[in-house]
Amino acid sequence: MRRWRYFGYRLLLAVPVIFGILVLNFFLIRLAPGDAASVLAGESGAATPEYTELLRQKFGLDRPMPEQFIAYITAALRFDLGFSFRNDSPVLDLILERLGPTLLLMSTAFTMALALGTLLGLLAAVARNTWRDAAISVATLICYATPGFWLGLMLIVVFSLTLGWLPTSGFENIAEGYEGWERVQDIALHLVMPAMALGLFYLALYTRVMRASMLEQTGMDYVVTARAKGQTETRIMFGHMLRNAFLPVLTMAGVQAGNLIGGSIVVETVFGWPGVGTLAFTALQSRDLNLLLGIFFISACIVVAINLIVELLYVLLDPRIQA
């Protein structure tokens, strides 16, 4: 029961974090030069200063900073993240529209990286100092050192243009208007490359952590105990070491959750994935303050949520956790 109390405690801790993010985001973005009105006016060609001022008034950008801040916080607590004037739509709607693809991409990449990384790390540790270990190490190091967008471009060249196996970009083939199961397959095909481009770095990371962690477990007394019981090496590995060795990987995964969102900005841009990442980039370029604030807030919420899931897994996997 104390484990669940611990989880509740972590849940409680998320509250000030989220509030802090609201505060920080607001001030950080207000520091930036230029505002939504000046961009909007600029993009519409020859706009008069009166027109720009009109826009500014309409957006409430002419009001004093504290007033804007209080308005923002109170609204955010009601999950009203404001209105994106550039997109002519409430921020929350825009983000929610894009959230699905991003979550799909992130969870796929994350799950793939975690599962394969654990497996590869395990294999490398088992085959320590053999050619297999070396091959895995070299492959992971290369994945670790390759910029994500470069990888994405190469994947497109190879798998879409040369081999013609996978669609170049997008979320689904809209022109065909698939429904039901066909649509799921279609989306899955579109998902393959972005998930790889996003996930390979983390795959490499988790492989390395898992390998090191496995090697550390090898020297543990309980492994010797299991051996002394007459347990086979395979069972020792899967029955005993795997779970223990996985815990540091899980910790790393929780820490990396925020970077996963950052990575998705670049990857989504390369693959035209209609997610929060592309939204963030366009919002930043067009200085859509409300939208950016919203994206930061939601991203941070996602990270907090992922961290909570990690905590939950931890609580489930490690009986020692308690408040």
Binding site: P16, V17, G20, I21, L24, L28, I29, L31, A32, P33, L141, I142, Y144, A145, T146, P147, G148, F149, W150, L153, V157, L161, V255, G258, N259, I261, G262, G263, I265, V266, T269, A280, F281, L284, L292, I295, F296, S299, A300, V303, V304, N307
Partner: protein
């Protein structure tokens, strides 16, 4: 510590990495002499494939890709090292204060650190570069600003672990002051861990810089690999050499730094060495 050096030298991959880094450093130092006109100068016909005259080809404006790679080495290393160093100094300060003084200070500082870890790093870096407007300094600041939490947690963890060790208690018992304990005992003892993680941070910083440059957030007046790639990206499939070579340079650098970092880790922090 010749001991650590010897252990490092035994690790062949790490030595290989160190050699590659040495070559890269050498190239970056020699760049002004090899290419006195600078990497931005228009050296020949645009988009020439690799040849004797231009071993790595020319880019869309007729600039020598080799000159760019050489000058970019300096920029990338400068950004990587400067950002990592700033992150290490700031992170060590925060982590050190939290780990040494513990209590409320620790709780507050670690909450702040966790908080900065929670914010998606790349988004924050992007934002900072835009706010400060793209320049060498702003890129360094942005990268450092998102890299320090890891160091802070590391140093704090080491300080807490070491703080329980009896030699720290012994120093306290001798009447040593806080700064003396921090600078004479705690820092020297976690220096090797900091060096290891710091060296890996350089690699991450270089990757971050590339990502920022990819999105057009680099200093336009300074040649860097990220800039080369983002410029060559449009002709990736007609003139593969323009961004292939800077890409390889990044890969090699980051790879080598990682190898050296791993080597340092094994050489400086062998858990089995003590007891």
């Amino acid at each position: 510590m010749p001991d650590g050096l010897r252990r490092f030298a035994r690790n062949r991959m790490a030595v290989l990495g160190a050699i590659v880094i040495a070559i890269i450093v050498l190239v970056s130092v020699l760049a002004p002499f090899l290419y006195p006109k600078g990497a931005f100068s228009l050296a020949g016909q645009p988009l020439q494939p690799p040849s004797l005259q231009f071993p790595l080809g020319t880019d869309a404006l007729g600039r020598d890709v080799a000159a760019g790679v050489a000058e970019g080495a300096r920029t990338s290393l400068l950004i990587g090292i400067a950002a990592a160093l700033s992150a290490v100094i700031f992170g060590a300060m925060i982590g050190g204060i939290a780990g040494y003084y513990r209590g409320t200070v620790d709780i507050v500082l670690m909450r702040v650190t966790e908080f900065f870890q929670t914010i998606p790093a790349f988004l924050l870096a992007m934002l900072l570069v835009v706010i400060l407007s793209p320049s060498l300094l702003s890129v360094i600041i942005a990268i450092a600003a998102v890299s320090w939490p890891g160091i802070a947690r590391l140093v704090r963890g080491e300080f807490v672990a070491l703080g329980g060790r009896e030699f720290i208690l012994a120093s306290l018992g001798l009447g040593a002051s806080g700064p003396r304990i921090i600078f004479r005992h705690l820092l020297p003892n976690c220096l090797s861990a900091i060096i290891t993680v710091g060296s890996l941070l350089v690699a991450t910083a270089i990757l971050l810089e590339t990502g920022l440059a990819f999105l057009g957030l680099g200093d336009p007046n300074i040649m860097s690999w990220g800039l080369q790639i983002s410029a060559g990206r449009v002709s990736l499939r007609t003139a593969w050499w323009v961004c292939t070579f800077p890409g390889i340079a990044i890969l090699l650098t980051v790879l080598s730094i990682n190898l050296v970092g791993d080597g340092l880790n094994e050489a400086l922090n062998p858990r089995l060495r003590e007891r």
